[in-house]
Amino acid sequence: MERYPGPAVIRLEQLSKRYGSVQALAGVSLEVPAGCLYGLLGPNGAGKTTVLRILCTLLAPDQGAVTIAGINALAEPRLARQQLGYVAQEVAIDKILTGRELLELQANLYHLPRAQRQRRIAELSELLSMDAWLDRRCGTYSGGMRRRLDLASGLLHSPAVLVLDEPTVGLDIESRTALWQVLQQLRDGGTTILLSSHYLEEVDALADRLAILDGGLVIAEGSPAELKRNLGGDRVTLRVREFASPQEAEQAQRLLQGCKGVRQVVINRAQGHAINLVVDGDEVLERLRQQLSEASLPVFSLAQSRPSLDDVYLQATGRTLLDAELAAVASRDPKAEKKQAMR
C-alpha cells in the first residue's frame, strides 16, 4: 500500500453477524487507507449491506471491532457518526418535504450552525446541480435526483469518510457517470470513500482498492490491477456449441486439461457449458485449436482476453459474479430483508 502511507481510516476486524439461522458475516476484516476510494464487491446476499450497516453504527456485530478515524465505533458511536456520511441503498426521503427542507433537517441533526448550514446547502446544490429543483417536494423527484439529494445529505457535514451502499442501482447511464465523477472528485479532495457494489465495471472503474465479499468473508483484497496481475495468464473462453451438452463440455475439458500451457479448465454450467480456460499466453490458442480439430470437436467460438475482475471473482469463488447474482436473486427473502432493514 505504498500510495497510502498513513494509518487506516476504517478498520474492520473479524466482524461476524448472524440473523437467525443465517450467518451473514463470518469474520470480515479489512482496512481502508485515508484518501482511498475502496470498493466492496460481491453479489446480493454476500453481506455487503450488513458490513456497511455495522460500520455506520446502525447495527451491532455479534463479534469484532470497528475503528473509524481512530475512534472505537462500538464504544463511542456518536463520535464515530460525526466522521461518517452514509448514503443508503434504499433512498429514504420524506416525500412531502422539499429537498432543501430535508437538507436543513439533516444539517440540524448534525448540529451545524445556521450560517454553515446555508453555505453548505448552497455549495452542494451547485456541485450536484440541484438548484433547479431543490425547492420542489421530494415526491416529485426522479431516481437520479433522489440519489443526488441523498449524496448531498451525506456530505453536508463534510465527513472524513463517505459510505455508499450500491449507489448507482436503478440509475440511467448519464446519472451513473455523473455520480462516478463526483465520487472521484471527492476522493481527489481527500475524502475517504467506501462503496459497495455488485457491478464489476463500477468497481473496476472507480476503486483504488477493493475487497471481494462472498458468503460473509473477504476472499480477495487489493487494487484491481494487483488482483488481475496476481491471477496471471490470459483467459480463453471456448464454446464447443452455442449451448453444449455436459458430456461434450466434459470431453473438451478432459482433452484440454492435458494441453501444454493450459493452467486451468473450468466448465461454466450457467453459460451454456462454455469452457473457461486460464492459459500462459497467445501461443496456447493455436495449440488448443489443433487439439480440438484432431479430436473432431466442433468450435462455435474461441475468445481470448486479459484477466478481468470477473476472472478474479471466478478464481476466488468458483463461479462468475453473474452466476452468483442469479443464485442470490433466486434465494432472496424480501420479508427477511425488510425485517433486517427495519429498526
Binding site: C56, T57, L58, R78, L79, R81, Q82, L84, Y86, A88, E90, A92, I93, D94, I96, L97, E101, E104, L105, Q106, N108, L109, Y110, H111, P113, Q116, R120, A122, E123, L124, E126, L127, S153, L155, H157, S158, P159, A160, Q185, L186, D188, G189, G190, T191, K339, A341, M342, R343
Partner: protein, 286 residues
C-alpha cells in the same frame, strides 16, 4: 469557487455547543418536520376535529329530549357529553402518535436519523411527544369551542387550566402507549388495526357517553378502571364550575374517587407507561 471547498473534508472543528443546545436543535428540527407534514397534509388535523364534532352534534341531538334530572347533577345530556367528546378528541389524536414513527421505521427514514450523531436518540421520541401534544390540544380546544357554540358551556378561569392539564396527562399516557406499539409491532397495517380496534370500545367502556349508574355491573367496572374515565370526570367537574381536588367526581363500584385522586392515577399511568416502554425504546434506538 465552491468545488474545492464543497468537496474537502472539514479540517478545524468549530467550538462544541452544549449538550442542551444540541438536544434542542435536533428535537426542534424533528418537530418542525412533523409540523411541515401536517401543514401540507392537514387531513389529520381536519379529521381529528370533524369526527368528534359529528359525535358531539349527533349524540347531543340523539338524547336532547331525554328527561331532565336523569343525569347526575341534573345537567343536560349535551353538557354531560361535552367532557366525554373533548377527552375522546385528545385520546384519538394521541393514539395516532405512533403512526409517523412507524412509517419512518418501515420506509427507512428512521435509519437516516439513527446514523446522525444525535446528542440523544430520545429526541426522536421527544419530537413526537411535542407534536402530538400540540396537535391534541389544538383539536381539543376546537371541540371545546364547538361545545361552547352549541351551548354546552365553557370552563371558567382555573377550570380551563384543569381541563388542559388533565388532557395533557392523558395525552402523555396514550402517546407513550402508541409509541410503544409503534416500536413493538411489525408494520403500519398492524398498528392501524390495533388503533382501529382499541378506539371505540375504549370510548364506550368509559363515562364519555353515559354515567356508571346507567351501566350493568360488568361494564361499570370496566368504565371505572378505564383511563379515559379518570380524565373525563375532573373535566366534567371543571365544566360545572365545581372543581376541587377533594371533591368526589367518580362513584366507582370499588369506591369513590376525588378529582385529585383521578389526576394522580393519570399521572402514575403516564409515568408508568413511559418507564415501561423505555427498555423497548432503548433496544430499538440504541
Amino acid at each position: 469557487m465552491t468545488g474545492a471547498t464543497a468537496l474537502a473534508p472539514a479540517l478545524a472543528p468549530a467550538p462544541a455547543p452544549s449538550a442542551l443546545a444540541e438536544l434542542s436543535q435536533e428535537t426542534l428540527a424533528l418537530t418542525k418536520r412533523l409540523f411541515l407534514q401536517l401543514q401540507r397534509r392537514p387531513s389529520t388535523l381536519v379529521a381529528g376535529i370533524l369526527q368528534p364534532l359529528i359525535w358531539l352534534v349527533l349524540f347531543g341531538a340523539l338524547f336532547a329530549k331525554a328527561p331532565a334530572g336523569l343525569l347526575p347533577g341534573g345537567v343536560s345530556y349535551g353538557r354531560f357529553l361535552g367532557a366525554g367528546v373533548i377527552v375522546f378528541t385528545a385520546f384519538s389524536a394521541a393514539l395516532n402518535a405512533g403512526l409517523p414513527v412507524m412509517f419512518d421505521r418501515e420506509f427507512g427514514f428512521l435509519n437516516r436519523l439513527l446514523v446522525a450523531p444525535l446528542r440523544s436518540r430520545f429526541s426522536i421520541v421527544l419530537a413526537s411527544v411535542l407534536y402530538i401534544t400540540s396537535l391534541s390540544l389544538v383539536q381539543s380546544l376546537a371541540i371545546m369551542g364547538a361545545a361552547w357554540a352549541l351551548g354546552y358551556g365553557w370552563p371558567g378561569g382555573a377550570g380551563l387550566l384543569v381541563v388542559l392539564g388533565t388532557l395533557l396527562l392523558l395525552v402523555a399516557a396514550v402517546t407513550a402507549l402508541s409509541l410503544g406499539l409503534a416500536f413493538a409491532l411489525p408494520g403500519h397495517i398492524e398498528l392501524i388495526a390495533v388503533i382501529f380496534v382499541a378506539n371505540l370500545p375504549l370510548l364506550f367502556a368509559s363515562t364519555a357517553l353515559a354515567p356508571i349508574s346507567f351501566m350493568p355491573s360488568w361494564l361499570g367496572w370496566l368504565a371505572a378502571l378505564n383511563p379515559l374515565t379518570f380524565a373525563i370526570e375532573p373535566i366534567r367537574a371543571a365544566y360545572l364550575g365545581q372543581f376541587s381536588l377533594t371533591r368526589v367526581v367518580l362513584e366507582a363500584p370499588y369506591g369513590n374517587l376525588t378529582a385529585g385522586q383521578c389526576l394522580l392515577v393519570l399521572t402514575l399511568l403516564s409515568v408508568g407507561l413511559f418507564l415501561s416502554i423505555r427498555p423497548l425504546l432503548d433496544r430499538k434506538l440504541s
